[in-house]
């Protein structure tokens, strides 16, 4: 089960710059907060985001606690060939969530 939302065009012209928008549900706990008992709440953020286009990395990001909860990112890529965009988010607990989107290039 993935809690990610991906927004990409289904179809694009070859050479067209397309916008990719990706959001995932995650608390992005900063590690700077304390709970009601005064105990520090351990940091748990997604610290790495990666987007592959047919297995080649086209975009990546390192995130720090100043990223908002449910991290959202919009970036772009050149539509080259019909293929699959793969998204991966890695958090501090080592959990990797993945999502994919297909694109048809005409």
């Amino acid at each position: 089960m993935t809690r990610a939302l991906i927004n990409t065009p289904k179809q694009a012209q070859q050479g067209e710059v397309i916008e990719i928008r990706a959001m995932i549900a995650h608390v992005m706990e900063t590690g700077h907060r304390r709970d009601a008992q005064g105990a520090a709440v351990p940091r748990n953020i997604i610290h790495r985001f990666q987007c592959l286009y047919d297995d080649v990395e086209i975009f990546a990001a390192d995130f720090y606690p100043a990223m908002a909860a449910n991290p959202f990112i919009a970036f772009s890529t050149v539509a080259t060939t019909s293929g699959v965009l793969t998204f991966a988010w890695t958090d501090d607990q080592g959990t990797i969530q993945r999502a994919t989107a297909e694109i048809t290039v005409v």
Binding site: V41, Y53, A66, M67, F75, S76
Partner: protein, 126 residues
């Protein structure tokens, strides 16, 4: 708590003491935000994004949060255009800065001031 690096120190961690020039980097962020927990921000870098002239990395930094780093974006000629939007946390009114590293190694920065009326990180845990 250990003291956080200043904005300038954080930027030096990214640039490694190389010259950083103002220009080519534009930050779009509302000048006044009500809620610091999710502030929409768009970074645009002037670049042809071609194979031999493109943006390699963009670092995003803040002045007054508990930590100065916000994010580092890795891109290349396949991005087509150097524009990234995201949502960040701001603990108080402060300066936000973006630094772009080009494929020729040159570094450029842009900055913006944001006034935050309700800061991030103050909400209680349930």
């Amino acid at each position: 708590m250990t003291t956080r690096p200043t904005l300038a120190e954080a930027v030096r961690g990214f640039t490694g003491n190389r010259d950083v020039r103002p220009g080519r980097v534009k930050l779009d962020v509302p000048p006044l935000v009500e809620n610091g927990n999710a502030v929409g921000i768009t970074v645009t870098v002037e670049s042809p994004m071609s194979a031999n002239d493109h943006v390699r990395r963009i670092g995003l930094f803040n002045e007054k949060n508990p930590q100065a780093d916000i994010a580092v974006f890795h891109l290349g000629p396949r991005a087509g255009r150097a524009r990234i939007s995201t949502r960040i946390r701001l603990a108080s009114s402060q300066t936000v800065m973006a630094v772009a590293e080009m494929s020729d190694g040159s570094l450029w920065f842009g900055e913006a001031q944001v006034i935050v009326t309700l800061a991030a990180c103050i909400e209680d845990l349930l």
